[in-house]
Amino acid sequence: MKKFLLKSFIFLSIVSAAALVLPWIGPSKATSTEYLAAMADKHQSAKKITTPKILLAGGSNLVFGIDSEQLTAALGKPVLNLGLHAQLGLSFILNELKDVATQGDVIILSIEHIMPLEGNKKLQQMVAYYHPKALTYSSGKQKSLRNTFLNNHHIHYKKTMMQYLNLEKKDPIYTRGTFNSYGDGTNHLTMTLPNKLGSKTQISTDKGAEIKLLNDFYTYTQQKGITVLFSYGAYAKSEYLKNKKIVTQFDEQIRQHLHIAIISSATDFVYPDAYFFDSVYHLNKKGRTIHTQKLITKLLQRSAF
């Protein structure tokens, strides 16, 4: 028995120590090519901006669809594109904004139709690995302390192993290196892209909970002296036509109940499929240029600018 216990103890100690310690002494997070690691970089950029700024918030439609440099030049205020992944969820993104936005800032919310309220827990934890403060962006339901610690450590372990073994995904588009200093994705601008529109996800019809959350956020921004505007994101025409009824219902719902100013109609940013590449939300170079111009025109009509 003694021999068994001793050997088991030695083996478990080695394995546990390796599993616990390796992630902390492993390759630096800063060298990771993980797409979601860009959140840490974006927050670093936010810290460097000391004057009132324009924050773009939403999912990946913003990553591929906006030229923030052009937006900065046109609007005369520094722009930071916080867009990353729609599946992080609305609640997460609004909490992230509370962390970044300060008095005098203008927030432009560009939310995809498919964005869930709570978001994907795994994605949120993955983001938190690179940007630990993101743990506080998750809502109560997602925050189970035990799971968060274990899952976070597990992601830590997994990521370290991938970096050690050089197994990190080397996707040319969905990579940390795609983002410029404004937070926009740029790699897709120089590549020959396919035109296969995936991500045709079912849209839920009742957005009551989302609207309530947005209205609560609006109250918060009012108290903090922050301006917030709502905009539809870029959307492929074929998908719009398929979901026209639901999109119209959603538009009626938000026009009736949302307290945030709406700067576009449901069809303003619907573009031909040829302007998109791998998803009905991801614009290519041409689409991005047109969309940025249209957004600038819409924004310049607002008193905030």
Partner: protein, 477 residues
């Protein structure tokens, strides 16, 4: 509690210490620790269903004692019938009530007499099919006078609820497991270390193989109408390895855990995907269930001793009942019937016991003939698994129809190379260990440093793939 959870990783050492150190090797106390630990283990999922296990334990314990004192055949038969009725009654209610009700309604509607009936919102208690069959084996063996009824209630309770095999087997016979609760247990270093190796391999099978394959199998089966025939074959292949990794992984962990406590459980899997014919497959797959049905259903029905008609009838009965045991769905019944169809030609031609010896005995590689036989058997098994995995019979038929279409000649839409590589590695290790109890059983012959490196790599890979504590498929049966 799941074997692949942090909860179990904490639970197991605690029980181990209590069992070997706190009880001071007192047999009664050790059995009590097992009963309490097993109730905690089961109650972790839902404590309310503990009453079912307790009730089943009391019923069969009492009936067992009753059988000893009952003299007349009528009273003995009444006691046996009571046990069967109560045990199968529970199983029938929890598992099959809605199925029968829905089918009765459908049958009445078909014959022009529509009736209204509401299904019940019944939660299936985890592992009910397993412990019901285990307790039934006790009563039947006592009735047949193959076993003396036990007087020790704690020992009997421990036999019914022994946590390593409580929720997904192996289904133990009272004649094999119950006497072990009466034997003084001494710690056996060789058995315990081999138990740990078996647990490690079981975790690898479940977490690395089964859960990884499950992701792809679920996506393909759940959206089968959008995939080409070639992709559907990939889906069926992944499910084939998912179910094997999942269930045999569970059995490995169960057997390995039992060995830590000085118990010896029956083998449940013996490298079934290397079988050379379907009869051999069924001697190697879910052995504890196959032998249960053989001994308590097939042989009492006359087995294969009668004429051709009786052989056909009995084969269909045993395979269909075995399919139905897995769940209240026509898909399982068809799966059972299909296996009966595979098996019957072998039985009728007297070829069902052709492949009793080890595969490629004394050779590293199988012969061409063996490869052909294994491939055909594997292919038939994959085809049958489509029914097992499909949501409905119609779903399975559509799935197979698409496979039979010209789209099978296109390149699959889903082709994860890494997963294929994992499966090849996994089957390679299984092939190397095919003559032993489990794939890592031969490892002690390897030099220490190399051996420990293998353990460490396996653990690192398991930890890498861990994260989602996914339930075992067989819990639902």
């Amino acid at each position: 509690m799941l074997f692949n959870s942090i909860d179990f990783a904490i639970f197991l050492p605690i029980v181990f210490i209590l069992y070997w150190f706190v009880t001071q090797h007192n047999l009664k106390l050790q059995n009590l620790v097992i009963v309490l630990a097993s109730y905690v283990f089961y109650g972790w999922w839902d404590w309310k269903f503990l009453s079912l296990i307790l009730f089943s334990t009391i019923v069969d314990y009492t009936i067992g004692l009753g059988l000893k004192t009952a003299i007349t055949p009528i009273s003995r038969k009444t006691l046996l019938a009571t046990s069967i009725l109560i045990n199968l009654g529970f199983l029938g209610f929890f598992k099959y009530y809605n199925f029968f009700q829905e089918n009765f309604v459908a049958a009445f509607s078909f014959f022009g007499n529509p009736i209204q009936a509401n299904t019940l919102d019944i939660i299936l208690p985890i592992g009910i099919s397993f412990y019901t069959f285990q307790t039934l084996s006790y009563t039947i063996d006592v009735y047949r006078k193959q076993l003396e009824p036990t007087k020790g209630f704690i020992a009997f309770s421990a036999f019914v609820c022994f946590f390593p095999q409580l929720v997904a087997g192996p289904i133990e016979r009272a004649t094999h497991l119950l006497p072990q609760f009466y034997k003084k247990r001494t710690f056996n270093y060789t058995a315990a270390t081999d138990g740990l190796r078996q647990i490690l391999w079981g975790l690898f099978k479940k977490i690395v193989i089964a859960d990884t394959c499950a992701e792809y199998a679920n996506t393909i089966f759940n959206n089968s109408e959008t995939y080409t025939g070639s992709t559907l074959i990939i889906g069926a292949l992944f499910f084939t390895f998912q179910i094997y990794g999942d269930f045999s992984g569970y059995s490995d962990i169960a057997i390995g855990t039992s060995r830590l406590f000085g118990f010896n459980l029956n083998r449940n899997f013996a490298y079934p995907y290397f079988s050379r014919d379907i009869a051999e497959f069924w001697r190697r797959w879910h052995i504890s269930l196959s032998t249960w049905f053989r001994d308590y259903l097939y042989i009492p029905l006359g087995g294969s001793k009668g004429g051709v008609g009786m052989k056909i009838r009995n084969t269909f009965i045993i395979f269909i009942v075995s399919g139905f045991w897995h769940g209240a769905n026509w898909t399982f019944i068809i799966w059972g019937a299909l296996n009966a169809l595979y098996f019957l030609p072998l039985l009728l031609l007297g070829m069902n016991r052709n492949n009793l010896g080890p595969i490629a005995a004394h050779r590293f590689f199988p012969s061409i003939r063996e490869i052909i036989k294994m491939t055909i058997t594997f292919g038939l098994t994959v085809l049958a698994w489509i029914f097992f995995r499909a949501d409905t019979v119609q779903h399975a038929v559509q799935y197979i129809t698409e496979i039979a279409s010209s789209s099978v000649f296109t390149f699959p839409q889903v082709f994860p190379k890494k997963v294929f590589l994992l499966i090849i590695l996994f089957m390679g290790v299984e092939w190397l260990g095919r003559t032993t109890e489990h794939a890592l059983a031969g490892i002690p012959k390897i030099p220490t440093l190399f051996r420990w490196s293998i353990y460490s790599i396996l653990t690192a890979v398991i930890l890498y793939y861990a994260g989602n504590e996914q339930q075992f498929i067989y819990f639902q049966f």
